[in-house]
Amino acid sequence: MAGDKGAKITKREMFLRILLKSLKVRKNRVFITFFSIMIGAAIITALASVYFDISAKMSRELRAYGANFFIGPASASGNRTVDTGTIGEAVKMVPPEKLAGASPYVYGVVRLDLGNAVLAGVDFAGLKRLSPYWQVEGKWITVDFDDESCMIGKTLAKNMELKVGDSVTVIRNETGFQKSLIIKGIAETGQAEDEQIFVSLPLAQKILGMEGKANHAMLSIVTEGTDIDALAATVAGKFPVLDAKPIRKVSSSEGKILEKIKGLMAIVAVIILTITTLCVMTTLITVVSERTREIGLMKAIGADDREIVRQFIAETLLIGVAGVAAGLVVGFILAQVLGQAVFGSSISFRMIVLPVTLIPSVAASLLAAVLPVRMAVRVVPAQVLKED
């Protein structure tokens, strides 16, 4: 003991000693506060991580909702068709990594066994990427040079009582072309395509007598990081025979969906922060209520209001920062789970997530401490110390 005599302890050391011991003695309350802050921070981290990755991820995801770019003959030219070679070159102007799918289309009316129908010639591989939302009974045609098979729309199949595996005779009066095709798949598209019959582009060109021609091409382009209007202008500039334009309905609704999803995530984050704040506040109020006598004693032996505030804010901050640190780790793991579940890919860590999580979470913790600290400051020693 004699060795301890004269040992000075700095005020900071004493403060830390009081701080840590006061937290240690209230493990359950500390854990509840820590856990609340951690959950809040984890959800904010996960949402923020997804949020900052969302534009890229969602844009790719939304490409599942069909074409958003059109290339066709220039309206000024008066032509209704354009060379597929020209279309192919125009499509090549889109950076490959931004091109989700593309297909030229050629259309004409043909007669089937039970009536007339619109025949569309397409690049099936491109069409499949362009229209991943199609519900296909049977199979997609996967080989472009398959001139023995066709796919038909669901309504058309119903009207003409056709099933997968049936054969259907396609007749084009103008060209005298007649051919029996096997139905490989029946597509439900929810659009006009439900009433059409689809064959490979070369076969359609042959049936319709439009070799080397297409009416237009539809493209699905990832809009994230792409100036789609500038792209349209470049294509039209390079190929005066072509019109190139974004399909506004899809492009703008894509943007609106993204904005709405971002807004929704922000609302969820605010709700989570509010719940965290209330939870932390309730716990801290309980802590202050349990400690009124201790606070009264501290005031009686010389602690002023500043000391009391410092003690409670430091306790809250310490738990808050620990909770946020744990929340960042848990949140990043949660973001990976979300990324895999929703986008099928991992979410990359972005530094911006740190302040976005840390600042509001710690602010929420401090906000939660305001009322309890006011309660602590208002403790009257004479009242609480006389209670048995």
Partner: protein
Amino acid sequence: MAKIVLETKVLTKRYGSVTPLDSIDMQVKGGEWVAIMGPSGSGKTTMLNLLSLLDSPTEGEYILDGVGTATLTEKERVAVRREKIGLVFQQFHLVSYLTALENVMLAQYYHSMVDKGDAMEALERVGLEHRTDHLPSQLSGGEQQRVCIARALINQPAIIMADEPTGNLDEANEEVVLELFKELHREGRTIIMVTHNPELAEFADRVVRLHHGKVVKDA
């Protein structure tokens, strides 16, 4: 002649229509040991709370060490209490998660510098040098009260104010605490002590008796 360290003029405390302390005029000289006695509800604790600046009077004047306390802010009242008064409580009021030594150092911490050696000496003085690292729950009632006294003494206050310091102690511990107060008195400290215990009051220089909030005897 010793100077007056504490003086009240018509000191009154009211809670609505209840007046637990009514127009107290009192003077205490430096080094004096004053015992405040009276039945339950006579206003003893209320008076001690006012004198130790834990509470404010409704009316009247309280001058401590030549300074009127009526105009002091709460922060100034805390500072005066910290500098001039050592408090001893009937229920000891130790911080449960701090050791005996840390409880003493807590008063140093709020006062100025924390000096472990001084805190150890204060505990040695009350005979607890072997219990410094024990938590209050590991100490007997008498030991807790001695820690409370060590804490009250650590900042060398001129005035010790004690509320029933032996109220929760057995006879043996009461004796130990009494001896400590006698020693403090010999050192020249001013002691204001609320007590029910006539044996303790015997050692006081003066006994102020309260009844229904008024001084009925001061001798």
